[in-house]
């Protein structure tokens, strides 16, 4: 479904990604893990069209989408839950969701608002609250719900548990599992490396802009030597 082929992305003189490649097949949950500064966010932002790669190609459903506008990519069926959530704090929960479904027809948008209310009961009770008043966990659920409003075939999630309390981390992992059961294809960047790899079909290990290892989620998660050398032992525990 998604093929990232040898992309190099730079911020001015700094190269954040060196010819990184990965693939996500339909129905898969793929985890992208690695230490801070490895280029994980850069990779997702490049796929989502926020950044343009210097070289390399991104293909979605066989079509070249390298450097395409994010707005067109949403219409093509690709949505990103960005790092730090970036919900619209001045808008209400409902307005955030409506904006998330801005590419859908009015009828679809209304139907998905109902679905969101069902899937995220915590949001239903805060429908008309400004999103700025939500707790971290609620805000994260809103960010995911908002991305789902475009009914994406591929959902990219950037650090969905960042800054959350341990109980909320569990809620987000439950959510990932549920979405996966629904057959939603996902590419997830996550700090809780072991935990996400156990959930994932496959994983990629990124370090200083290079893909240094790949395998099934379980293979990567259980290879402690690989882990210690590339991520550091502190990420082993899961919630670290």
């Amino acid at each position: 479904m998604l093929e990232v082929d040898q992309i190099t992305t730079r911020y001015g003189a700094i190269t954040a990604l060196h010819a990184a490649s990965l693939e996500v097949r339909a129905g898969e949950l793929v985890a992208l893990v690695g230490p801070n500064g490895a280029g994980k966010t850069t990779l997702l932002n490049t796929v989502a069209g926020l950044l343009r790669p210097a070289t390399g190609n991104v293909r979605f459903d066989g079509n070249d989408i390298t450097g395409a506008e994010p707005a067109s990519l949403v219409r093509a069926g690709l949505a990103l839950v960005p790092e730090h959530r970036r919900i619209f704090k001045d808008l209400t929960v409902e307005e955030n969701l409506r904006l998330g479904g801005s590419t859908a027809t009015k009828l679809d948008r209304l139907a998905r608002l109902d679905e969101a209310a069902e899937l995220f009961p915590v949001l239903r009770s805060k429908w008309t609250t400004s999103a700025g008043f939500l707790s971290g966990g609620e805000a994260q659920q809103l960010a995911v719900a908002r991305a789902l409003m475009s009914n994406p075939r591929l959902l990219l999630l950037d650090e969905p548990t960042l800054g959350l309390a341990p109980t909320m981390v569990d809620v987000v992992f439950d959510l990932l599992e549920r979405l996966r059961e629904q057959g939603r294809t996902m590419l997830v960047v996550e700090q809780n490396a072991t935990r996400v790899l156990h959930l994932a079909d496959r994983g990629y290990l990124l370090r200083t802009g290079n893909v240094v290892a790949t395998g099934t989620g379980a293979e990567l998660a259980d290879n402690s030597a690989l882990f210690d050398s590339f991520i550091g032992p502190e990420s082993h525990g899961g919630d670290a």
Binding site: A48, G49, L50, E69, P70, A71, V74, R75, A79, L80, P82, R86, I87, F88, K89, D90, L91, E95, N96, R98, L99, G100, S102, T103, R146, A147, S150
Partner: protein, 298 residues
């Protein structure tokens, strides 16, 4: 008491015109981080359009639609021709571009029409007065306040209820996040310019009914007041722009009416007094009345 009431109505009349212009400035600042110094030129465009239409048998019955349409077109055109090309440049470049447009507009009217004022007829009822409980009010003041109130209600409905309005508010808060929702950058910015043009068009109608004349640099005074109003309210805040406009209008008329009459022409100092008051206000509250947390200051 009578004087105070009349002064307040007067102040609200002037202030509501400032509010409409300030709202447009805040709107464009929100989506582009541009303080658009060419915004006042939309009034000039409306004025010359009226002048040309009145040369060919124009009437105030339909002139407001023409003025609003011309301001909207001109606003969208400035974005297409100028601002789109510098959209990702620094705020300073954007600011300079807007200055350039303002000066270019002055020069074009001077060269192709005339440096002199061009007058056209005013609606017959503009300076009519009526009395309520012994206090006389100008019809135009009441029309101004009513039209502004209706326009602001319409604006609130559009920004609260429609997808366009929500997109603009979302884009004003976090442009990239809005793009990730499928909001097309060009469309939302063009839409914001069209809407700012609409607001300026309504303001232009109110201004031109009172003083029906076109002059190359007539937009600049209004622009300065509108920018001040937007900044008083908190640049980027829509509510702030409206409150800022009203506050500025009231301050101006109140100081003019109540400054001690020490000498001939002393009332000319009222503007200076207003500026001193504003300066003092910014010492206390540098971000304006409504602080916008996500607005990056230029």
């Amino acid at each position: 008491m009578t004087k105070l009431l009349q002064t307040i109505v007067d102040g609200l009349g002037v202030g509501s015109t400032y509010a409409l212009l300030a709202l447009g400035i805040s709107l464009i600042f929100g989506v582009m981080h541009l303080v658009n110094f060419a915004h006042g030129e939309l009034i000039t465009v409306g004025a010359y359009t009226s002048y040309f239409f009145f040369l060919h048998g124009g009437s105030w019955w339909w002139m407001p639609f023409v003025i609003i349409a011309s301001a909207m077109l001109a606003s969208v055109a400035t974005e297409l021709v100028a601002f789109r090309w510098v959209r990702n440049s620094s705020p300073f470049t954007l600011l300079l571009t807007s200055f350039a447009l303002e000066r270019l507009s002055h020069a074009l009217w001077q060269i192709f029409v005339s440096p002199k004022q061009r007058a056209f007829p005013k609606p017959s009822w503009v300076f009519n007065q009526f009395k309520i409980a012994g206090v006389s009010f100008e019809v135009m003041d009441v029309v101004t306040i009513a039209v502004t109130a209706a326009t602001l209600v319409l604006t609130a409905v559009i920004f609260k209820r429609t997808l366009f309005g929500i997109s603009v508010r979302g884009a004003a808060e976090d442009f990239d996040a809005a793009r990730l929702m499928g909001v097309r950058a060009n469309r939302v910015i063009s839409g914001a310019f069209a809407f700012a043009g609409f607001l300026a068009g309504v303001a232009a109608c109110l201004i031109l009914m009172r003083s029906p004349a076109a002059e190359p640099s007539m937009g600049s005074d209004w622009l300065l007041k509108a920018v001040i109003a937007a900044v008083i309210g908190g640049l980027g805040s829509f509510t702030g722009a409206v409150v800022g406009g009203l506050v500025l209008g009231l301050l101006e008329t109140l100081t003019r009416a109540y400054l001690p009459d020490l000498a001939d022409g002393w009332d000319k100092f009222s503007t200076a007094v207003v500026f001193v008051l504003i300066a003092l206000f910014f010492v206390v509250r540098p971000d304006g009345i409504f602080k916008v947390s996500h607005a990056e200051r230029v």
